[in-house]
Subunit: 214 residues, 2 copies
């Protein structure tokens, strides 16, 4: 297998589209989520994101990157206004509809309706969930930061409620997101399901790993 | 399929280990990478991370979360000292060795040697690459921020060189990381390979998606 090297200088000479496709492939497989929000006038919004990441367990925090607001970003506007959003895992059965939410709809059009997904209100939480999603969370807006490097918005949220299928929940706290049919994404547009390889024991310097069965 | 709700209050009553396992499952499938660094005395370090995320294509930036330095974090110390690290995708063939790097080795022990992975120097870049990894990058440290919410370190890096298998590289810039045997991780300890479902066309409000073959 021949390895090729691509330097920063070569990358800078790529077309914008090629550069975006290239760099978006490099971090590895990415999580695939739908962010649900609503504005003060009751217009809902749904947006697919691959930039959610674990920030800490106690308090339970998730991070999220939203692109520069040089064009209006409804998710960001709504999040600032209501301080609330939902996070909904994309399952295989809604993958195409989820991808379609990345189209630039005008703000008065709800991506829920335009893309054929169902708004669901749970426990009076302000922001709408995706009914078809198997794993979903209520998130409270904590803080945002505009990154001077490129104008992206780094958003910190706190998990306030989690909804999961009973059969995916393990007594030790693990959630089997593979069983819940969650998919992941490579680059900008290619969706993958997963096949479990191994679960490993907690690593210690003095002892070899063992393979755990469940 | 019965859905259960787990509230913030219930999560706060979990044991620390249970909470960590639970919250780490929720963001979705995570990328799986090894970060290679070296200190001024020539001691190398290798550390598995699931917190790398795309921050922008122009400039080409990757973000990374490192846990609080209440205990010494060799990756963070070395990154501050040399301003350089490598990012190496974990492939199926090195998955167990990669997991073993999460054990707490003393700083004078290199995880490369302890875990059976090979240091590789490319183009005189300061930090060591993982020879067994199929996709690897040289990263320049840009900036760090300690998050007041939990003491985690948010690290911004710039991609300066990319090494990929020729057969995984597409003319339009996409890198087929599935073909390169990259794995992903669920929670803290469960590794998955992927199976491609679909690649979708660029979404537009006015036209239905099409499925792209390559």
């Amino acid at each position: 297998m021949k390895t090729i090297r691509i330097s920063e200088e070569e990358i800078s000479q790529f077309s914008d589209r090629k550069r975006v496709q290239f760099i978006n492939s490099l971090s590895g497989f990415k999580p695939c989520n739908l962010i649900g929000t609503i504005n003060g006038e009751g217009n809902s919004n749904l947006s697919i994101v691959s930039s959610v990441f674990h920030l800490g367990a106690n308090p339970a925090l998730l991070g999220l990157i939203i692109r520069p607001d040089s064009v209006p970003r409804d998710t960001l506007i709504n999040l600032r206004e209501t301080k609330a959003c939902t996070l909904n895992h994309v399952n295989q059965s809604i993958m195409a509809k989820a991808h379609q939410t990345s189209a630039r709809y005008p703000k008065e059009i709800s991506e829920f309706k335009a893309c054929g997904l169902t708004e669901e209100i749970l426990e009076d939480f302000k922001a709408p969930f995706v009914a078809e999603s198997n794993i979903k969370m209520a998130l409270q807006f904590v803080r945002e930061e505009k990154l001077p490097e490129n104008g992206c918005h780094f958003i910190i949220t706190r998990i306030t409620d989690v909804y999961i299928p009973e059969e995916s929940y393990r007594e030790d706290g693990r959630v089997d997101i593979h069983k819940a049919d969650t998919v992941c994404v490579g680059g900008l547009d290619t969706y993958y399901k997963t096949e479990r390889l191994h679960r490993f024991s907690y690593a210690k310097p003095s002892s070899p790993l063992s393979i755990l069965e469940d």
